[in-house]
Symmetry: D2
Amino acid sequence: MVASLRLAVAGVGNNISALFQGAELYRRMSAQGIAESEFPGVKRPRIGGLGVSDLRFVAAFDPHPNKVGREFHQAVLAEPNNYPLLAGELPAVDVGVDPGLSEKDVDETSPAFRRVVQRLRESDAEVLLYSLPTGLQWAATAYARAALAAGVAFVNCTPELVARSPELLAAYEQAGVPLIGDDLASHLGTSVVHRALLGLLSQRGLTLTSSYQLNFGGNEDFRNLREQGASKRQSKLNALAQDGVDTGNVEVIPSAGFVAHLKDHKVAILNIEGQGWAGTPVSLDLKLQVQDSSNAAGVIIDLIRIAAASRRAGVGGFAAAAVRILKSPAGGHPSYSDEDIEASFRVLDTVSELAEATAGQ
Amino acid sequence: MVASLRLAVAGVGNNISALFQGAELYRRMSAQGIAESEFPGVKRPRIGGLGVSDLRFVAAFDPHPNKVGREFHQAVLAEPNNYPLLAGELPAVDVGVDPGLSEKDVDETSPAFRRVVQRLRESDAEVLLYSLPTGLQWAATAYARAALAAGVAFVNCTPELVARSPELLAAYEQAGVPLIGDDLASHLGTSVVHRALLGLLSQRGLTLTSSYQLNFGGNEDFRNLREQGASKRQSKLNALAQDGVDTGNVEVIPSAGFVAHLKDHKVAILNIEGQGWAGTPVSLDLKLQVQDSSNAAGVIIDLIRIAAASRRAGVGGFAAAAVRILKSPAGGHPSYSDEDIEASFRVLDTVSELAEATAGQ
Amino acid sequence: MVASLRLAVAGVGNNISALFQGAELYRRMSAQGIAESEFPGVKRPRIGGLGVSDLRFVAAFDPHPNKVGREFHQAVLAEPNNYPLLAGELPAVDVGVDPGLSEKDVDETSPAFRRVVQRLRESDAEVLLYSLPTGLQWAATAYARAALAAGVAFVNCTPELVARSPELLAAYEQAGVPLIGDDLASHLGTSVVHRALLGLLSQRGLTLTSSYQLNFGGNEDFRNLREQGASKRQSKLNALAQDGVDTGNVEVIPSAGFVAHLKDHKVAILNIEGQGWAGTPVSLDLKLQVQDSSNAAGVIIDLIRIAAASRRAGVGGFAAAAVRILKSPAGGHPSYSDEDIEASFRVLDTVSELAEATAGQ
Amino acid sequence: MVASLRLAVAGVGNNISALFQGAELYRRMSAQGIAESEFPGVKRPRIGGLGVSDLRFVAAFDPHPNKVGREFHQAVLAEPNNYPLLAGELPAVDVGVDPGLSEKDVDETSPAFRRVVQRLRESDAEVLLYSLPTGLQWAATAYARAALAAGVAFVNCTPELVARSPELLAAYEQAGVPLIGDDLASHLGTSVVHRALLGLLSQRGLTLTSSYQLNFGGNEDFRNLREQGASKRQSKLNALAQDGVDTGNVEVIPSAGFVAHLKDHKVAILNIEGQGWAGTPVSLDLKLQVQDSSNAAGVIIDLIRIAAASRRAGVGGFAAAAVRILKSPAGGHPSYSDEDIEASFRVLDTVSELAEATAGQ
């Protein structure tokens, strides 16, 4: 049996609550004799030998006053987190939340920075998962440097530039430490549904007339949304344009409103108007409802397992296995073929199997 | 320039109205200088050199009392047809609607049968398009035999067994006459959207919990729906099962109701419930609205061009080019690869180009 | 404190499961100190002094083989019933389900009929609630006669003719026994929403162009739907016409499909197209989802309390208090003013208060 | 026959385009022999004898550079206006658009102010309709003063404080000039639908759990929306609270997004979650689509006819007839009973009839 993945986290938000609670839930299903191939919402039961509940939280950094100093399993439920409590009592995790880095601690010689590196080392973490709120480029860079200094693999869930930074990527590669990023693609996001439907329209030979997409919800992402909306909107429109969609009459509103009572639920409204034979109209209206942070955690579970398995296999830098579940992978999507990706997964699995075989001798 | 496609039709319903009016509309667009690559709702502007308005209706068979004896361009607007009149006055088509075959005329020696064969010959038709109401196996077979006797290519839009009949297919192949069928796949049908979304769910690693699909509308298909619903339901569920969907909690209602005022519009309601990470719920609700007969005509235009171009190229039997736009192609879907299909289109185009080059000398 | 309502039921379907489980749930809320004014989904916490959990099931009749002979609390969960089990274990109700009457037992001298009368008497039932499947006029009449013979108040939930029968009503009035019916109006049914929106359109001065309403679900009502749909459709269209709606372009499909996995959930799809100023279009699309049998039980709880309180007050025949929650009340809706209805409720309350005061002396 | 209503407008936006084009369209219907009782989207064919096409635009003020100096019928189609051109060519209206007042012209002695008063007098306007963009309190007040100075009735479509200002109202009353405002209620707005559905829920005894309402569109109101959203949101929530709705879990987003290609169409998404019997869930999802400015014009046509008829009848100040179609009427809604409103309409009709009878002698 493989050893559990030793995970450190920077940011103890809803995504981490979802990751923690989900892993616990699957552990209980397993204890009830449910086969992991039957776990709902899991695409790959094993990556590099690691299952979805083989997870141990060994360090946590978050500057929020409601979280600092609390034990990890309490901090994941502290406001403004509002991911639901899924499964009765949570198991205690005897790891206190550390305030981590602030904007004045980015120098590698600062005491705070050195303390973070030390905690990563002492905790024997394999992976540092970065998921602080979007927009803190300084934090993303500083934690990535701290992880590198501690020899810990780094996973960047946010759009900040980390794995796409040639300098950082080169440093990780040289050190033989995995660096996975940037910006996770949701498990079932609005954009992937929107693109699938627009692609279908085009593939069948219908003509797009207009389309819109609105997203709203009740978590912190939507509270601060209206400011950050513009860049997210453009990046989503760019993605559509790359698919060959004429975005002239297409609108994307990443953050149409903050609806507090929705909590961590996200609702998306999608409309597509097109023309078929003889120019007659075709119209699609769709409402998509998801648990926003489950939508992230369902992908994070793969990213961290790829990172940990790569580290165990001694493979540094980016791993092709992560490409399909990142919005902006190191090197860009076109650098990786389907074969690259499959080969990357196979390497992780093979090394894990060899390690187990050796361990068993 | 290629000669127009000389088309005979068995059945003068909404589909034929849509086909006729659409071709006329595109002809007018062309006359206004709109490039055919800009035609809305057209996937392939040319097949074997034939454009979407290169169409001449040369014979028409339909036993409905409102249609028999009327000129073609009037019959397409006669009740119970209720496809909208799209584009002002329709051009006159000096072809009277013939009652065609009845159930007692299926013998090839009967006077009615011989008359139909003779009309096909005299009209110099290249293709006989069969689109009488669903369920008349005797009629589908009889018209297919009449077309074969007249050396005219046959296209079967309905689920009746024609191109899948080994005997009929062999006879067409031996005679070098094209036989295209069975059962057209809509341009953008409910099933193709349903399958795309279920496929996306599965590809992303979410778990399907339940799903339903309901269709309703106001044309003749929906009036007589409730009887024929059962077999159509099963065939749609089978198609989903072939995609690997566990159809235990999936329901398809092909004909949920006749709503007269919708006329030829079809509305479909789709729901998908699934589970993401930690079993948290994901839900999709979709409303799809289409002009039902445009949805058929947008595919018929390709089927008849494939049939005519194959006949001009001297290729008998089934043409791989038609596979993707048929629900039950001769030989079944798995018999044809993407390469087969592309090769089939290329043959039609090449022969047409050679013919033009020769003609130009 | 008033004594619990002693209830006999003819029919142990989903509605009775909902009624029984709801009463139990509210009892537990009460035990937890939740005030009855805070009970969700309850319009009138008290009628004639009776609360929503003051309910005792004392006799039950149902011919279904899965139910006959079983104890009441087990029978409510037996197939084809599929109302969810809401609240953990149900309290035992030591009442066996009796097969009751069959079509050959309608004569008052038949042994079965006499046995039913005797059971009603022995059980000391105050009310017989009739909710067998729709369409059994003989059963509705026979049970109404049996209740009358036993001096038990009768509530008819179905469209069968009982309280609207002048003979039956006169007999109940003469005997001083309450008779409440016919045909319960859902707590929040599709029709009431449809009528509210069409009424709003008209009141604001917009013009209705067309509208449709489709209902589907997974309980027995929807399984056998397509046969019974026609009369239900006409009765719903009539109700709209009475509101002054021009139903020329309005369609109602009471039973668009049986979707097994929806179980006791009902889904309704509503569309309204209209014209505002300058004839420009207005459109409303609505999806309504309800727990079908809760929708009935939320009204049944009022009907049976009205019946029991009337009987306790010595008032026979129909009670105006029930008018708003019946589709076809005795005498028809226009016979009762709002004042009549309020007065009727007040009588029940006053008598109950007097009775308590007297009992307290 | 009554003389046409002589109308001056401050603001030549989409609402005025809708008003102008609608009046013209109904005029053409009338010319085709369509009875005014059959006009689509018209609640009251006559108010004080005035029909919906008895409208003459005699003066227009708007500071927008695309409009100043152009003839009225051209200005209504100038950008950023994007109400559709409904009915072919518009009739010429030989009235040039005047820049009107700017923020420095609010003093009654300023030349601009005096010019506006003079234009109103010279044009012989009966009513000045104020519909400049929301938020210009100075402009609303200044135009109201100018109208009063010219003896012209004033109608305020915006939320600015005019008719609710005790000083202004007293001045109008004293002068015997009608003052109608403030803030028009849409013909069929999202709020009225939302309130109707929440009211229905409550009336039927179901419990509201949560609700949201989002509005989006492509006209200027939605472009500048996000700033003005907060006050509009609060006013809509207040309206719900006045209906007795517990707005704790209710969210209203007046301006969820600017979707340019929607132009003057508004889309509203509404969700209501509730609990029925036994706390089981009830859910309503609604999509409402309207032509935003028709939604205003359908009410403006009544407000200006009430104003003109009041002036003709010599009745100054506010008119009860306008109460139901204003969001914030002078004195507040509770000051007026249904009887007051009907009486107010009757006065206008009677005076008009008398005037005609006298004129006919």
